[in-house]
Structures are given as C-alpha cells and as structure tokens.
Symmetry: C4
Subunit: 275 residues, 4 copies
Amino acid sequence: MGSFPGHALPGSFFLCVGLWWGVKSSLWHLTRKNKSSGSTRLPSRVTQRRLEIIESSVILFLSVVGMVAEQFANSGPQLQLYDAERHWKDLMNWQHCTMYLFFGFAAAVSLIVHSSAAAPLPLDRLVLCLAFFNEGFLFLYHLHGRSLLDVTLHQLLLYPVFAQALVAFLEVFHRGNVILELMRSALTVLQGSWFWQIGSVLYPPWGPHWDQDDHSSVMFVVMCFSWHLMVSLLWTGMIYGIVNWVVQARLKRTPPMEMGLLSKTRDQESEDEAF
Amino acid sequence: MGSFPGHALPGSFFLCVGLWWGVKSSLWHLTRKNKSSGSTRLPSRVTQRRLEIIESSVILFLSVVGMVAEQFANSGPQLQLYDAERHWKDLMNWQHCTMYLFFGFAAAVSLIVHSSAAAPLPLDRLVLCLAFFNEGFLFLYHLHGRSLLDVTLHQLLLYPVFAQALVAFLEVFHRGNVILELMRSALTVLQGSWFWQIGSVLYPPWGPHWDQDDHSSVMFVVMCFSWHLMVSLLWTGMIYGIVNWVVQARLKRTPPMEMGLLSKTRDQESEDEAF
Amino acid sequence: MGSFPGHALPGSFFLCVGLWWGVKSSLWHLTRKNKSSGSTRLPSRVTQRRLEIIESSVILFLSVVGMVAEQFANSGPQLQLYDAERHWKDLMNWQHCTMYLFFGFAAAVSLIVHSSAAAPLPLDRLVLCLAFFNEGFLFLYHLHGRSLLDVTLHQLLLYPVFAQALVAFLEVFHRGNVILELMRSALTVLQGSWFWQIGSVLYPPWGPHWDQDDHSSVMFVVMCFSWHLMVSLLWTGMIYGIVNWVVQARLKRTPPMEMGLLSKTRDQESEDEAF
Amino acid sequence: MGSFPGHALPGSFFLCVGLWWGVKSSLWHLTRKNKSSGSTRLPSRVTQRRLEIIESSVILFLSVVGMVAEQFANSGPQLQLYDAERHWKDLMNWQHCTMYLFFGFAAAVSLIVHSSAAAPLPLDRLVLCLAFFNEGFLFLYHLHGRSLLDVTLHQLLLYPVFAQALVAFLEVFHRGNVILELMRSALTVLQGSWFWQIGSVLYPPWGPHWDQDDHSSVMFVVMCFSWHLMVSLLWTGMIYGIVNWVVQARLKRTPPMEMGLLSKTRDQESEDEAF
C-alpha cells in the first residue's frame, strides 16, 4: 500500500461508511423522537432491519473483494506466506488481508444478528469494536524503522481507530445512545479523511515532496489532525441537520390521524432499543 | 506566547470560567434540592436556559477575539501557513488558534443545544470534552526540545486538561451529577492557576530567574501542583458554601404558600435532568 | 517451563476452561431466554449451582496439583527460596506457583460463594479478575533480558490476560451479561491457543528453529495473534450455535403445558441475575 | 523518612485503617442484608453516622500530628522552603506534609458531609480518591536517581495506591457496593503491609543488607508483592467471616417480634444508600 491510491482507497471507503452511519443514526434517533406525533411516513422497524442487512452485505462483499485483491493483484503473495528459502514474504499484504478479514467477520456477525433471532443483539457492536481494535493493533506494530513524519502520521491514525473501538464497546452497554452513534460516525469520517491526508503527505500526487524528518512538519501534521477532527464534527453536524430538516418536512405533510395504528406497533418497534 | 502575559491571559480566563461554573453548578444543585420547600425566589428553568445561552455567547465571543488576536496582533501569521521559501511559519500562533477554535465550536454547539430543541442535550458536554481533549492533545506534541523544568510544568498542565475531558465525557452519561460538575469547576480553576504558575516560573516578571535544569526545582513544582489542587478544591468548596448560605437565606424569607403553583411546573423543570 | 510441554500444559488447561465457559454461558443465557416457552427439560437453578460447585472444585484441585508439581517435580525448589549462599533459587517455579495459588484462591472463593449464602455473589468475578491480573502482573516483570521474539510473544499474551481481568471486573457490575461471558470464554480460548503458539515458536518440537531476532518474524507473530483471536471468536460462536441448536431441539420435544408450575419458581430462579 | 521506622509508621497506620474499614463495611453490609429479620440489636443509622464522625476526627487529628511532626521534629524544615542561598531545603519532609494535608482534607470533608446535610453525600469518596491520587502522584515523581530495587519497591506501592483512588472514584457512582468497599479495605491493608516490606528490605533492622542492583532480588520482590496481595485478601475475607459470625450470633438471640417498629424507620435508614 506504499502509494497514494493505496491510502486513498481505504480513505474513501471509511468516508462513505461514516457518511452512511451519520445518516442512519440521525434518522433512527429522529424517528424514535417523533414517534408520538404520528409518523407513518418515517421508516418503520422492518425498514431499519432491512437496511442493516443491506449495509452488512455490502461491507461483507467489499471485505471479500479487498482480501482477494490483496492476495492476487499484480504482485500479491497468492496465499503464500514464505518463499523457497523460508523468508517471510509480502507480510504487508497479509496484514491488510487480516484487517479486511475482521471487518468482513464483523459484517457477517451483524448479518446473522439482524436476520435471525439466534444471536444476542449487542454482539454486532462487540465485533465492530474488535474489528477496529484489530486494525489499531496491527498498525501499532506496523511502524518499525520508518521516518519520523511517517510514524507520526500513522500514530495519529491510531487515535480515531482506538476511539472507534472504545465507542463501539460503550455501545454494547448503552445501545441506541445517539451521542455515541454520531461520535462513531464522526470518527469514521475522520479516519477516512486522515487516510487521504497520509497518502497526500507521503506520496504527493502533485506538488513537491515533504521533508520527512523536519520537526516543523511533525508539528504541522499534529495541528492538521485537529482540523480534520473539526471538519469531521462539522460534517456530522451538517448531516444531522439535513436529516432533521427532511424529517420535519415529512412530518408536516402527514395528517395526525393514524395514532391508533401506531400504538399497536410500538412495543414491537422498541424491542431493539431495550436490549 | 513565550511571555508572562501570554500565560496569565488564558490563566485568568480559566479562573473566571471555573469560578462561574462553580457558582452555576452549586446554584442549580441547591435549587433542585430545595424545590419542594417552596422556592419561587430561586431561579427557574427559563432563567437557567437564558444563563446557559449568555455563557455560551460570551465564550464564543472571547474565542473569536482570541483567534483574531493570534492571527493579526503585532507579529501574527495573518492567515499564512508558510513563507515564500515554503517553511512553516508561526506554528505556535496557529496551534493557539486551533485551541480557541475548538472552544468556540463547543460554545456554538452549546448555544444551539440550549436555544433550540433540535440537537440532543448531552451534546454540549461531548463537545466540551473534545475541546479539552484537543487542548491536551496539542500540548502533548508541543514539548519537543525544551528544558526539563519547562517540560515538567507543561506536562503537569495535562493532568487537569485530560481530567476535564474525562469528567465532561462522564457527564454525557451522568448529566446533572453535582459531584462531577463541581469537579469540573475545580479542575478549571486548577488549570487557570497553573497557567499563572507556569508564567511566573518560566518568565518571572519580578525576582530572580529559575535554574531550568535543577532536579530540585522539578521536585518542587510537582509538589506545588499538589498545593494548587488543594487550593482549587478549597476554593470550590468555599463557593459552594457561599451559594448554599445565600440560597438558605432567600428560602427563609419566602412564605411557604405557593406550593400548588410549583407542583404544576415541576415536570417541565426536570426535563433536562432526565435526558 | 522453558520447554514445549511447559507451555502446552497451561495452554491445554485454558483451552478446556474456555470451552467449558462457552458451553456454560450459552446454556444459561438460552435457558433464561426460553424460560417463558415452558422449559422443564432445560437445567434449573439447582443444576446451575451444582455445576458451579463442580467447576470450582475441579479448578481448585488442578491448582493444588500444579503447585505441588512445581515445587516437588524433578528439579523443583522443594519450598526453599534461597540456597546456602543466600542466592535466590528457582524463582521461575515460585512464580508459577504463585499464579496457581491465585487461581486456586479464586476457585475456593467461588466454591464458598455458590455453596453458602454467606459471601456476596459478585465476589467470584472479582477474585477471578484478581487471578488474571496477578498472572499478567507477574508476566509483565518476567521478560527481562530475553530475545526480541520471546519478549513479543509474551507481551502479546498480556492482551488476553489483562482483557480477561477487565471483563471479569465489568462482570462484577454487569453480572449475567451474555456478551461479557462469551467474551471471557473467547479470551480464555485465545490465551490457551497462544500458549501453544509460544511453545511451538520458542521450542519447536519439530521443524527448524526460528531466528529469534528477525524483525519479520516479530511482524508475523503479531499478525498470527490476530488470526488466533479470529479463530477463538469463530470457535466461541460455533459453541454458541451448537448449544442453541441442542436447546431448540429439546424445546420442540417438550409439550408446552407446565406453564403454571414454572411461574412459581421464576422469582427464585432469577435471584442471582438481580445481584 | 529514609529509615525503618519512617516506613513502619505509615505502614501501621494503613494497616489499622484497612482493618477498621473491613470491619465497618462488613458490618453495614450485613446489617442491611439482615434488616428484614428483625435486627434491633444491630447498629442503627444514627450509630453509623456517629462512627463515621469519630473515624474522620481521628484521621484528621493524626494528619495534623503527622504534619507538625514532619515540620518540627529534630531536623525538619520548620516551615522554611529554601535556605539562605535560595536552594530548596528538606523537600522530602514537605512532600510527606502534602500527603498528610490531603488525607486531613479528606477527613475534614467527610466530617462536614456526615455531620451536616449541606454537602452532597458522595463527596467523601471523591476527596478520598483525590487523597490517594495525590499520594501516588507525589510518589511517581519521587523516584529520581535511586537504585533499581528501591525504584521497583516504590513502583509496586503505586499499584495499591492508584487502585484505591480508582475504587474510591467508582464508589462515587456505586455507593454502598460491598465488593468495592471490601476491595478498598484489602488494598489499604496491602499498602500498609507493603510499607513494612519496603522498610525491611531497604533498611533491614536485623539480618544482612540486600544487594540493591541484583535483578533476582527485583524478581523476588515482585512475587513477594503478589503474596502480600493474597494475604491482604485472606485477611479481609477473615474479617468479613468473623463479623458475619458475630452478626448471626446476635440475630439468633433477638426475638423476631419488633417488625412493626422497624418498618417505620426503614425509609430513613436507607437514605444514604440511595444518594
């Protein structure tokens, strides 16, 4: 992955996932909040479950594609761990494969949790926590013998990754807390945009190359990370605002007469919030 | 900011904020506690909300002033990140700007949370947590190549800063817990008084200069930090005591006859404690 | 224990305990979940308590055997701490003894907790937490002056050990949470399989020896640890699936007529979930 | 305090406090548990409050004595921080004074909390947490330039100290949890016995002196710390057992007829558990 596209690709993936999680969390939160005011036009529990299944299927599919690409693309290891002289071979590709494997596993478990009643509900957050933890864990031992700037850039990546793991773990106990869900969304956007930043600093596709051992550059990227955090927060806030505006617009057009129908389905709808 | 006023200014700011938070938290706690004994003379929910809006506006205003001052005061970067030869320029000022930016953002979010019903209530604590975290994060990478005493003084500053972030994060889940609120107030006072201490040790406006690499001085400033903590605790306790005394005095002067009126507004008043 | 069997033995022990905990947690969770559908064929509270007592007795017995073996096997210290010239002697054996001692203590406390009503119920998790903490604590100071690969392998062992301590501590406050119980089971399986891995890397019973200071080997074992984590999660998931399948099969054969009988015993059965 | 008595004195103090806390926690827990079985012979809420006040007064008194002794005993600093040539003087004594100051402050706050209704109840645990945190914080910066064995011995002391701070902080949110209270008692006993161990290793009052830089000695003291932990747990368990036995004995002698009287005072008695 020592290239600009190699960082831009996962970056784009996390940006999309973060955006989607922001929309989803805002929508479910506002649906729950406005349930009493007669909201047959808002998505129901069945729609929620269907969307979770689609989301998990897409992530599972992309993870498998990622794993296959890492193994069999132009110079991949093709499922071989060491060469004829018993030296380790293409460990980078194997590490990226392992990361994809955990995200694929998290998606598969989420698929089982939401499509059947067999597994306990908070399991989807726990496996998500483990997928992010595993990503951070592999990055942690990934930084041996690189330049100061390179190490700093990747260390900063560990902040959102481990924070995502922590937030997902807290969600095991505080499921449906909108603050935590929006936090997770913002951190995913941050991780995605920071991947782009890493790629553009280490392998600038345009403009001059950076001095890899200048301490001022390190100070700048640290501050730059703060700006990315700020942008990801503003972005998530904007998403929430737009969804809120759409929901309010739909509610105004709905006549408030189907209260009786709603109250019947309420128990069923709230079943996954209660855990 | 390598000067005495450069440390005394933020110090004074945090001292004022800490004092105000102490008064506010004590007052709301004692208002809730004495609600049943007929307290029409105590501030109502509407007053609380109005005060939150004023507080947020003042902090937002001061943050903007701080940012403008850092950029355009006598030798500021004037929104330029690098000079003609592409060397980073005035990164210190940019870092301080970034800190102000996060506090301003926290104030703006708090303003939205308390003036409309759109955003979820605990969001104001989360953004406060992030503002303090960001401050500590930038200070953490701020200490490269300084003297032992300088590094120790700034490392000690990280204790109250990260503790404030932690307390604000806990308040997301335990909103209205008076212990946490008073703790946050005391830590803010501690941060403010420690800024003064840093300024007076590194850039003594009077008296002799300190030996920057003497290990005894390091041992002394560590102990001195404990004393600041003790003073900030005593200070917060005194504030609580004074507010308690004022509230009790007002309650004695109020005739206990308007019980009926109060019970009507109770549900409405407790809405923000429930979250 | 500097040998392959010396690592395979505790590894096998933890694999068995992890397997058993997986079965137990799944079974109790599914019993609680299916209580309402008339489950006289599922194990009752009395069976649960009896199984806890058997489990604790077995662990206590094995711990005592382990301690005796460490002290009196071929070259053990035979309860002597130093030799005639006052040099410390066989500290390794003493350390392993201390680890067994804590696990034996945890088992003994669990025995008291489940066989009498004298001690508070969550105590069994606290002593389990302390037993794992103690294991990790001793390993932490165990790594002085070894090769890079050796240190890395043992440091990775600390992840499941301290995670088990953390999960057991959380169970003091969230008793009966199936997510935490399955997590603990998976971490125990991970610890067991990693013990096998350590033994087979440092003292390979077959095949060539590893280069102890090659950085690629370190990178490989880190990734290998991720694979062990994945396998332990899949394994625990499989256990849960099998137990679920067995429970569903038994429930189908049970006629749903003894509802009245069940509701009488419900209060009694749920007493240990309430804490 | 570089002497055997200088370590034995605080050690004995913590042993006594740990013992007392064990008795108190066990007694209150068993009183609450057996309330329904007619327990007029068990201590009432008023007795509890009175004991808390006595406890706080004793600790406050001892802290003041400790501070005065550190300042004015044979070679103390007599309230002077630096000598005529502006060199820091007797910083050790000042540090110990600061530790006593925080414990005295915690006792004073506890006195106010339990003798009046002005302060919020969980404050006594928060100040206790801060007193232990401050002790650990000062020890942390206390270890500069000592021998390996000395540093290890004092680092191990930080485990119980910071664990006590953590447990006291958790008690702010989980007040009256007997597991946490017994844990705090056991950790206090551990701290006390470890102070004795430090004194007897560094300044052996009898027997030969230890080799301060032998790595085997470091390994031994680490294991020895585990044994102290085990002994403190067994000790606390024994205290709980004895108190349980005494309470059961008293309950048997009490005729179960005053049920009516008890139910009247129940609400009042449980007021401090609710927080």
